[in-house]
């Protein structure tokens, strides 16, 4: 009984082993390097509200956009066996729409912010539908299909606000981008939690998880079991669209302006990486959302650690690459298989010893 429980525990855990070990190593490394690295303090922000501060808060906060995108990307990856590389560009479009709507009203109040967010969502979902149609209906490889929006997305974002980079300022926006008065936790972190719960509910109250994995693993069999594979793939892109809008709006609210050139630049590769570090196969099929979220925090923690070590920003990417190569190799099927064999050999030896002991 106990053994079975342990086995189930290990197998459920398996996929998360690598990202969790990565986090643990980064934590230990930082503790050794600087015991004060993880101290959390309470400071007062510009508005005089008490808020949590410290490196760890910075990391969790900073990874918010990435974590939200990684959730959506996981779904697209699982269903389509490919990735959407246009998320950064699409987020710039969503952010531009967000600002455009905010600017068009006379004053910024809760109503206009919600309206602006809804509009950003709709636009991002439309672009998701565009990508999804290319992939699901026309069967174009996801990376090629989304290359189109990747290429032209930031130009579209440029047109939306007539080439300007307008600023928006409002207590509501700073509430979204940093802190809500009276709440010491950064709002983007709360948004990530909310998104994670939404996804959890989605998988609980629909059979989307089963259908997505079936389509990703064996499209032909899924079709013959009555699953509308085209719809499932399209849906994954539309859901990713929502994630894009959310992360785009977080990004805009943080800065208080939209810069179509720099908003969430290069985030698509980090997003794909987060999915991979989370132990999800980039070839589609089985997936674990929690893995991708942890993956996002691993990437952010790595970046911040490097900055804290005073690595020049020009060199950070190179160091990041080294760590990522290690992670990916450790998580590779070859190493996993060897490790698994080693474990089973150990178990075997132990069994033999105990059997011998029992005989005696």
């Amino acid at each position: 009984m106990k053994k079975n429980g342990k086995k189930a525990f290990l197998s459920g855990f398996g996929q998360l082993t690598i990202p969790l070990i990565a986090i643990a190593l980064l934590v230990v490394f930082n503790l050794i390097r600087d015991p004060g690295f993880f101290s959390i303090g309470i400071s007062h922000n510009n508005n005089g509200n008490p808020v949590l501060s410290g490196n760890i808060i910075g990391i969790i906060n900073g990874a918010s956009e990435l974590a939200v995108l990684a959730m959506g990307m996981t779904l697209v990856t699982a269903a389509c066996g490919g990735q959407d590389i246009s998320v950064g560009a699409a987020a710039a479009i969503a952010g531009s729409v967000f600002v455009k709507v905010l600017k068009s009203g006379s004053a910024i109040n809760a109503g206009t912010v919600i309206l602006a967010f809804v509009m950003a969502c709709i636009v991002a979902m439309l672009f998701g539908t565009f990508n999804g149609t290319l992939v699901a209906v026309f069967k174009i490889q996801p990376m090629i299909a989304t290359l189109i929006l990747y290429t032209c997305g930031r130009s579209i974002a440029y047109w939306i606000n007539g080439g300007a980079t307008p600023t928006v300022s409002s207590p509501i926006l700073s509430g979204i981008g940093s802190f809500i008065p009276g709440v010491p936790i950064p709002t983007p972190v709360l948004i990530v939690v909310a998104m994670a719960i939404l996804f959890k509910l989605l998988f609980h109250f629909t059979a989307l998880g089963l259908f997505t994995q079936s389509v990703g693993i064996n499209g032909s069999a899924a079709r013959l079991n009555g699953i509308n594979a085209t719809f499932i793939k399209l849906l994954s892109f539309i859901i990713l669209g929502v994630c894009v809008a959310v992360s785009g709006c977080i990004g805009v609210s943080r800065l208080g302006l939209i810069n179509h050139e720099t908003l969430l630049i290069d985030i698509e590769m980090d997003t794909i990486l987060a999915v991979a570090i989370g132990g999800n196969s980039l070839g589609g099929g089985k997936f674990k959302l929690s893995g991708s979220i942890i993956g996002a925090y691993v990437i952010q923690m790595l970046t911040i650690t490097l900055y804290a070590m005073k690595v020049p920003s020009t060199d950070v990417k190179a160091y990041k690459a080294i760590v990522i190569v290690l992670l990916v190799v450790i998580g590779s099927p070859v190493i996993k298989e060897r490790f698994g064999r080693w474990i089973s050999r150990l178990a075997e030896r132990r069994r033999k010893v105990s059997a011998k002991g029992a005989e005696e």
Partner: protein
């Protein structure tokens, strides 16, 4: 033994999580011998073969080739030791040409003349009588021809030991004969052949010796001529089988005429020519015919698996539209596809998830089956169908072929279909499971479920079906019932004695 032993495997152990797949198995192959490896599903045949060919690493034991100990850690090692394999599932590359497939991974230098290879390939193909051209894409050949190309590849590698894992399961009689001629040829050249199959007749036709495995253990090695067929079967399933002959005695009862459940007129799809078809409640019928005769294509049209292009369909007398699989499912039709690996299992998902899949699809996305409910469904069918799996959460891909098939059967049974189409449910499955599936079909029919049963083994269909539709060249050429349901009549109709 006087004959020189070519390959000896001693005390081979292989363990998978939760399962001891091979337990101290011995196997001996002599020069110029065709040696049949027999056993039920999960008896360990495929595992033994995969250990021998380096796909799996054995956990204990030793392998000797011509007396010398060899260590095989990869398919390359096996090839170097002179061991070549043709697997049950074809493992060549469909998007390369026939010639490329035959020489892939074994050209000596980087600079090989393409046309030289093609010439050589054509030479071999002609010699073996394989109807394919070297420049053709492999994917454009029929399954049967792909299989034969795989064999040609192995033959051309000058192997000492040739392993044929279910080579005949997708070949028709003529092709099987060609293959057997080829095997006898190779035998004369001192090649040792390990022949894994489920077709007992073929074993007796071609093999010299038989090794039987059961539950990962060796049952024994026998000279083929000294082991009667019935005894072989009972050694494989480990019990006596009067049951086998008793099946299908209830034929007389089948002559009742309940109402028609499904009726199609001029039904056609992109793959099937227009045909008429109907089936009564509780009736078991079959489509028979050679490979490529259109039997699978016809049932696929019924289920909407290929794009339906015309015809009218009535269910319980009411006209319905079945364009896609989901339409058919909503009208109570289930379809177990011919190609289990490609169209059946979702390999990486668990047994439980595979079992509930079709029911979940019918429920729709918004009404998920709860975890506890799905667990009890899975447990129920694992028990009812006697599915051998470590647990309900085991990925279905790690089960043996017969058990995978049972999982898919469970999937459709769970939807409580009115009409179940089973396309080759017994292909690549051991005798015991075949019997179980045949019994299940009859039991379903008794409960009023209509069943269409397709099998390459005519005998199996005669045993279960009360009506046989014979197809040739994509047309139905005859319908056999009652007295006409016998092997000779079926053969005659297939061959075109009447139409």
């Amino acid at each position: 033994m006087q004959e020189e032993s070519l390959l000896t495997m001693r005390r081979i152990d292989k363990r998978f999580p939760g399962v001891l797949a091979l337990n101290g198995v011995d196997f001996t192959l002599r020069k110029g011998e065709i040696h049949a490896l027999m056993g039920e599903n999960g008896a360990g045949k495929s595992t033994l073969i995969k250990v021998l060919t380096g796909v799996y690493q054995m956990d204990g034991g030793e392998i000797r080739v011509e007396g010398e100990k060899v260590s095989i850690h990869s398919p390359q090692d096996a090839q170097n030791a002179g061991i070549s394999t043709v697997y049950q599932e074809i493992t060549l590359c469909p998007n390369l040409t026939v010639a490329e497939n035959m020489f892939i991974g074994r050209s000596r230098g980087a600079w090989v003349r393409q046309n030289k290879l093609e010439e050589r390939a054509d030479e071999i193909l002609t010699k073996l009588g394989i109807p394919a051209r070297s420049t053709q894409l492999l994917g454009s050949c029929s399954l049967a021809v792909q299989q034969m190309v795989a064999i040609a590849r192995a033959v051309d590698m000058q192997c000492k030991v040739l392993i044929l894992d279910e080579p005949t399961s997708s070949l028709d009689d003529k092709e099987v004969k060609q293959l057997f001629d080829l095997m006898r040829d190779l035998k004369k050249q001192d090649v040792g052949i390990i022949f894994v199959t489920h077709f007992l007749d073929q074993v007796y036709e071609v093999s010299d010796r038989i090794t039987v495995l059961r539950n990962g253990e060796l049952v024994g090695e026998y000279l083929t001529e000294e082991l009667p067929q019935l005894q072989l079967v009972s050694k494989m399933i480990g019990k006596e089988l009067e049951e086998l002959s008793n099946l299908g005695d209830s034929e007389e009862e089948k002559i009742m005429q309940p109402e028609v459940f499904y009726e199609a007129e001029g039904l056609s799809s992109t793959e099937a020519l227009p045909f008429d078809f109907s089936i009564r409640k509780g009736e078991v019928n079959g489509f028979t015919g050679l490979l490529g005769s259109g039997r699978s294509e016809s049932v696929r049209a019924i289920f909407g698996a290929d794009k339906v292009t015309g015809g009218t369909v009535k269910i319980n007398g009411k006209p319905v539209k079945i364009q896609r699989p989901i339409d058919a499912m909503k009208h109570g039709i289930g379809y177990l596809a011919e190609d289990r690996k490609r169209d059946g299992i979702i390999a990486e998902l668990s047994v439980r998830e595979n079992i509930i899949l079709a029911l979940q699809v019918m429920n729709g996305m918004w009404r998920p089956i709860s975890r506890s409910e799905s667990e009890s469904f899975a447990d129920e069918y694992i028990k009812v169908l006697n599915i051998k799996t470590a647990s309900r959460e085991t990925p279905v891909g790690s089960l043996s072929g017969g058990n995978q098939q049972k999982v898919i059967l469970a999937r459709w049974l769970l939807t409580h279909p009115d009409y179940l189409i089973l396309d080759e449910p017994t292909r690549g499955i051991d005798v015991g499971t075949k019997l179980e599936i045949q019994k299940l079909v009859l039991k379903l029919a008794e409960e009023g479920v209509s069943v269409t049963f397709i099998s390459s083994e005519v005998e199996e269909m005669l045993r279960t079906c009360s009506r046989l539709i014979v197809m040739r060249d994509r047309h139905a050429v005859g319908e056999l019932t009652g007295k006409d349901l016998n092997q000779t009549q079926v053969m005659k109709t297939i061959a075109g004695g009447e139409s």
